[in-house]
């Protein structure tokens, strides 16, 4: 049955929009089992926030001219029963939405969403009991009503002779105004504007869309994207670690690997499908990238 768009039903959406406006992109609205328009809106907001968060994290390290990247943590000390003995919080949005009375001396799992509780039990507590000391897992904390905060976390198990304690450290990458170091004077510091970020994202999309044909020379790419050759050469490599041509080639090889592993197509056909001019050219690029020939890769896949 379709729900109506009432204030009560939209509480999570409003809270999410407030948090997005404040730059808090790690939140997600709690999902329900409905399949209606409202659930679609909630799913869309979650996916949008996730995409923005991913993009921001990718470029965070490049925008340090006015700020420094900080890792904000949320740490819990748990006793053997996994109740919270002590905690420290640097993440304002979590601090603002949770009271310490609801945390201290209460089971740690009370802070997690239902889905994360199951993961905690299955993937964390059970492996930890088998003497594993560190476990890395994303944890979904319940935050404001209807919102969840998804944080990368490390769970450490410290055994004592008569008991075990746990330390949970969850973290969030953020940017803080630089008032300690004068980065502005450092001219070697990388700077990438939002326009540049958009530009390189578009070039990457273009490359992915044109894998089956030879990539245009840099001067043509520059003209296509209204920029200069130098910017493409240096900027693209800074972000992706390789030149546009290497990226183009690597993506082709990655797709070829999937076809080799999952189809009976001949290596020559795969080379042709992926836009290589000849099998020797394909083989050479494949070998340079994976350190084995396509034939050896195929043999290895067939054996495994």
């Amino acid at each position: 049955m379709e729900r109506e768009f009432t204030k009560a039903n939209l509480q999570g959406v409003y809270r999410m929009l407030f948090e997005l406006a404040k730059g808090n992109l790690a939140f997600k609205i709690e999902r329900s089992s409905h399949h209606d328009e409202l659930e679609g809106l909630i799913a869309l907001l979650n996916m949008t926030a996730e995409k923005l968060h991913k993009n921001r994290n990718q470029f965070l390290w490049f925008n340090r001219q006015n700020g420094i990247v900080v890792i904000k943590t949320l740490s819990f000390l748990l006793n053997q029963e996994c109740e919270v003995v002590h905690y420290c919080c640097e993440i304002e949005s979590f601090e603002n939405s949770t009271r310490s009375d609801d945390i201290l001396d209460k089971p740690f799992v009370n802070l997690l969403t239902t889905k994360s509780r199951a993961a905690w039990k299955k993937k964390i507590l059970e492996p930890l009991k088998q003497e594993q000391t560190f476990t890395i897992l994303p944890l979904n904390y319940k935050s404001y009503d209807h919102l969840n905060l998804n944080l990368h976390s490390v769970i450490t198990r410290i055994p004592y002779p008569d008991a075990v304690i746990y330390i949970v450290t969850s973290c969030l990458l953020d940017i803080k105004k630089d008032d300690v170091f004068n980065f502005r004077e450092n001219t070697t510091m990388n700077k990438l504007s939002h326009w540049d970020q958009q530009l390189f994202h578009e070039i990457e999309e273009y490359i992915i869309d044109h894998l089956q044909e030879p990539l245009k020379p840099v001067y043509e790419l520059a003209s296509l994207f209204n920029t200069n050759e130098h910017k493409i050469k240096t900027g693209f490599k800074e972000i992706f670690g390789v030149t546009p041509f290497q990226y183009h080639r690597e993506q082709r090889i990655e797709l070829s690997k999937i076809l080799i592993a999952n189809t009976d197509l001949s290596l020559k056909d795969i080379a042709r499908k992926m836009g290589f001019t000849s099998y020797p050219q394909f083989s050479q690029h494949f070998k340079n990238y994976t350190e084995m020939s396509p034939r050896d890769f195929k043999k290895r896949i067939q054996k495994s």
């Binding site: 399949h35 328009e37 799913a43 999937i258 999952n262």
Partner: protein
């Protein structure tokens, strides 16, 4: 007909049909498994694909990125058809944010989707 853990696949009149299982949370791992099954099922042939994503309840960005790149291998065109408002919006989000050169569209009527695929299946 192939009945996988995450999707059902079958071929009818030169069109490959993909129907995702109910209550599916689409992750990159799930998307990789669906791609593996699809490529094995296609036996080296390229197809126009009719996709019913109604079973999907959520999808993360890694899964969508994967589907828009690797997930288009050996596909000529794709038509999405779903009556669910949630899945219409999820599919629109996917098509808006992962636009590729592959002919793709979302259709309100099955017959329109099949007509679109017919024009790309030759």
């Amino acid at each position: 007909m192939f009945e996988g853990e995450y999707a059902k696949l079958w071929i009818e009149d030169t069109i490959l049909f993909i129907e995702y299982r109910s209550h599916l949370v689409l992750t990159k791992q799930t998307a990789m498994e669906v791609l593996r099954s699809r490529l094995a099922f296609q036996r080296n042939q390229e197809y126009a694909v009719f996709c019913d994503p109604s079973g999907i309840v959520s999808a993360d960005t890694d899964a969508l990125d994967y589907l828009s790149r690797e997930g288009t291998l050996l596909i000529k065109a794709v038509a999405f058809y779903t009556p669910s408002p949630l899945n219409i919006l999820l599919t629109e989000f996917f098509l808006e944010t992962h636009r590729r050169r592959l002919p793709a569209g979302i259709f309100k009527h099955k017959i329109q989707a099949l007509k679109f695929l017919k024009s790309h299946s030759q």
